[in-house]
């Protein structure tokens, strides 16, 4: 098995073997999470920092919970979206992190590429991308895979279900770091991905993207879908520039109660949250047993524990890059 990479910047950093490794390690941490005392000493003595230039309470809490359950020391930096205004460059901020002696830094930034740049400036500290601009959000894609595998029975049999699985991703693909990570993640395990979006919310080019098809007709693809993954539509996108109105968006792309009846039995619905009820998903659809939205959140902690373990766990499967 190839060594786990030094950083997790993009789903492209992980091959199929590494993805499966994350899922399998996460199984043991799901088990830990069920204990009365859900804490293990795995990362005792290691220091992890969250560096969120863009606010995200949900993702930051998930990472910090993961690190604390592994007994790491956790520092939380919230430098705001523009460190330049404070007179400190991004590079200075990143290099300070290393000088403090931090082992792993979890970065979220509104600008694509910041985690990659940070990784280039750091010698001894692993970088985990917690979402950069429109680019990537790899742990979100990994927890989606984990959740789908679990919903299809878990373990090797759940994993085997990805082969030929029909995954439909609906919504604002253009501006979505989640979609970019999901597409790579699902296809790495053998799934076929269909994108459904108004053409204005597709990327300008899909050259080189491993997608099977692209359509503007959600009704055509829902009956064959095994997984429907919805993306949040930001209200400003529906204010006339990308789509005329949110009402029109919902009519064409929303997972309404009517559309939910078109799903085959055993199909599942995912959403990275926070959901905008009544826009991309009807409130009652979000409450269906097929909707895995809360499973995604709870699995997020275990999957992030797995990623931290593989990147920082000294003398174990990961950590091979340092020295």
């Amino acid at each position: 098995m190839s060594p786990f990479p030094a950083h997790l910047l993009s789903m492209d950093d992980l091959g199929t073997e590494e993805i499966v490794e994350v899922l399998e390690v996460a199984d043991s941490f799901v088990e830990v999470g069920r204990r009365a005392n859900p804490k293990v000493p795995t990362l005792r003595g290691r220091t992890v920092a969250t560096l969120f230039f863009e606010d995200s309470t949900r993702t930051r809490m998930s990472f910090e919970t993961a690190a604390k359950r592994m007994s790491a020391d956790v520092l939380s930096f919230a430098p705001g979206s523009s460190s330049v205004k404070k007179g400190e460059s991004l590079r200075d901020t990143i290099e300070t992190i290393e000088a403090i002696g931090i082992d792993g830094v979890i970065i979220r930034h509104a600008s694509s590429g910041v985690p990659a740049r940070a990784a280039g400036w750091l010698d001894h500290c692993s970088v985990i991308n917690a979402g950069d601009g429109w680019h990537q959000h790899p742990t979100q894609a990994l927890l989606d895979l984990y959740t789908v595998r679990q919903a299809f029975g878990g373990g090797d049999s759940g994993l085997a279900r990805f082969e030929g699985m029909q995954v439909v991703i609906v919504g604002d693909i253009r501006h979505s770091r989640v979609a970019r990570s999901q597409i790579t993640a699902y296809t790495a395990l053998g799934a076929e991905v269909t994108l459904v979006a108004p053409t204005t919310l597709l990327p300008p080019s899909l050259e080189g993207w491993p997608v099977t098809s692209v359509t503007q007709h959600l009704d055509d693809v829902l009956p064959k879908a095994d997984v429907v993954s919805l993306l949040r539509v930001q209200s400003e996108r529906g204010s006339g520039e990308f789509v005329p109105t949110l009402r029109e968006y919902t009519a064409d792309y929303g997972l309404t109660a009517r559309r939910a009846t078109m799903l085959q039995p055993g199909a599942f619905i995912l959403h990275p949250g926070p959901i905008v009820r009544g826009v991309e998903i009807a409130s009652e659809v979000a409450e269906l047993p097929a909707a895995l939205i809360t499973d995604q959140v709870s699995n997020g902690v275990a999957v992030r524990m797995a990623v931290l373990f593989l990147l920082l766990g000294q003398g174990t499967l990961g950590g091979a890059h340092r020295g």
């Binding site: 460059s89 991004l90 694509s112 590429g113 740049r117 950069d132 770091r177």
Partner: protein, 446 residues
């Protein structure tokens, strides 16, 4: 030697050292011939097959080298006044001289913008004693804000021959029409940075496969092309003349090619980075590859090379745009666009373009000199043939020498060269500016 400022901003030189450029091949508009060149009192005194060294003369060895009129850059950002931490007139013109340039056109996007007689005069005075002639480009509109015309006649009286709001295009077609109309009466040339803001939006790179994958907002080729097309329509309607700055797309080159075949008075330039780098270089999110117009795909690179080869594009212009290192350590979408270019332009042209040296020199010397009115035909002293009596603005180029770019060794105050570590062919050996050797054996003398 004493400098004074002439009535058009040019520096007038009195006496100077006596130089013999020995052993080279003179290449200029009239062709090429093996000849030594004697320079005395700031001017070419003799061009003969063998010139004995006069007593006290400095000999510049040119064996195997090309002796050419000094290069002229139509597009330089010197940053002074306002951004002296990135570049000054002194450091920028030193970089120019090391790149073989004896004149640069200083873009008006300084702080304050060069939109008034006072601002223009200030730069002209700061440029006295610089290592190359600094021709000031004036802004088309006040503050480059695209709202009302700058006092072009007043600036023309100070010697300004080229006007542009570079960094931005004039967005209003109506205002651009008035500007072209007014400029025609003054006999000056307008130059446009073609970019429709409504299409370019927040774009930080070329919109295409790479921007989509990297998740970086893109600016489509059409953002440039719609303004090229618009301005060609205005030139046609008004009988005006116009220069297009840094063309970067296949469509723009095609539009200018057709406009020229119609006989319209349009000229165009291309920047070395647009014919030597592609948008894939942004894959690591390093803002040193961020520039405006952005790096484009290979098909556009090929179209620019074809345009340079067939005469559609008249000049290679650097768009030398220094930025202090901390600005290039910002996230890609926040970092300012721009690259250093003065010291690498000639070498990139020799390395990347499959053109004879005489064609490359036409693109870097006498054609740009003509566009900005610095050539002898317009009363200037740049880009003219190397004959007795001509101005002593000369560069000596070793076309086969190879060197490796080291960003940290460049003369600019900034380090944002995208060519760090790249091996190039062709190097400037000596530069003579108004009879003075400002570069000898690739070393700046000032």
């Amino acid at each position: 030697m004493g400098h004074t400022v002439g009535d058009r901003g040019e520096s007038v030189t009195g006496a100077g050292p006596t130089l013999v450029i020995r052993g080279g091949t003179v290449v200029d508009q009239s062709g090429e011939r093996r000849a030594d060149v004697l320079i005395a009192e700031g001017r070419v005194a003799a061009v003969e097959s063998r010139i004995a060294r006069p007593r006290g003369a400095v000999v510049l060895e040119a064996d195997g080298c090309v002796v050419a009129p000094g290069l002229v850059d139509l597009h330089t950002h010197l940053r002074e006044p306002g951004r002296e931490e990135s570049e000054t007139i002194e450091t920028g013109t030193r970089a120019a001289s090391l790149g073989g340039f004896t004149a640069v056109v200083a873009m008006p996007n300084t702080e304050p913008a060069l939109d008034s007689a006072e601002a223009v005069r200030n730069v002209q005075e700061l440029a006295v004693g610089a290592s190359a002639h600094v021709a000031v480009a004036g802004a088309i509109t006040v503050g480059r804000a695209g709202e009302r015309l700058a006092p072009m006649s007043e600036l023309a009286a100070l010697g300004v021959r080229l006007f542009t709001d570079d960094g931005a295009g004039v967005q209003s077609a109506g205002l651009m029409r008035r500007a072209l109309d007014y400029a025609t009466g003054l006999g000056v040339t307008l130059a446009q940075h073609c970019e429709d803001r409504t299409l370019a939006g927040d774009g930080a790179m070329h919109e295409g496969a790479w921007s989509s994958r990297l998740g970086i907002p893109g600016m489509p080729a059409a953002a440039e092309e719609v303004m090229v097309a618009r301005d060609i329509a205005l030139v046609r309607a008004l009988g005006a003349r116009m220069h297009f700055l840094h063309l970067s797309t296949t469509g723009s080159v095609d539009l200018v090619r057709r406009a020229k075949s119609e006989g319209l008075a349009v000229t165009a330039e291309a920047a070395p980075h647009h014919f030597s780098l592609t948008d894939g270089r942004t894959a690591d999110y390093d803002p040193v590859f961020k520039v405006n117009p952005p790096l484009r795909p290979q098909a556009d690179v090929d179209a620019l090379k074809a345009g340079l080869a067939d005469g559609t594009i008249d000049a290679i212009a650097t768009d030398h745009a220094p930025h202090a290192p901390e600005l290039k350590d910002l996230p890609f979408d926040q970092a300012p666009p721009g690259m250093l270019g003065l010291q690498t332009a000639l070498s990139l042209a020799i390395s990347e373009l499959d053109l004879p040296v005489a064609r490359i020199l036409a693109l870097l010397s006498w054609q740009p000199a003509s566009i900005c009115g610095l050539d002898p035909v317009h009363g200037g002293d740049q880009g003219g043939a190397i004959v007795p009596g001509a101005a002593g603005n000369i560069c000596v180029i070793d076309p086969t020498a190879t060197w490796t770019v080291e960003a940290s060794m460049l003369a600019s105050r900034s380090r944002n060269s995208p060519y760090d570590g790249r091996k190039l062919t062709g190097r400037v050996r000596h530069t003579v500016f108004r009879g003075e050797p400002v570069v000898i054996d690739a070393e700046a003398q000032r």
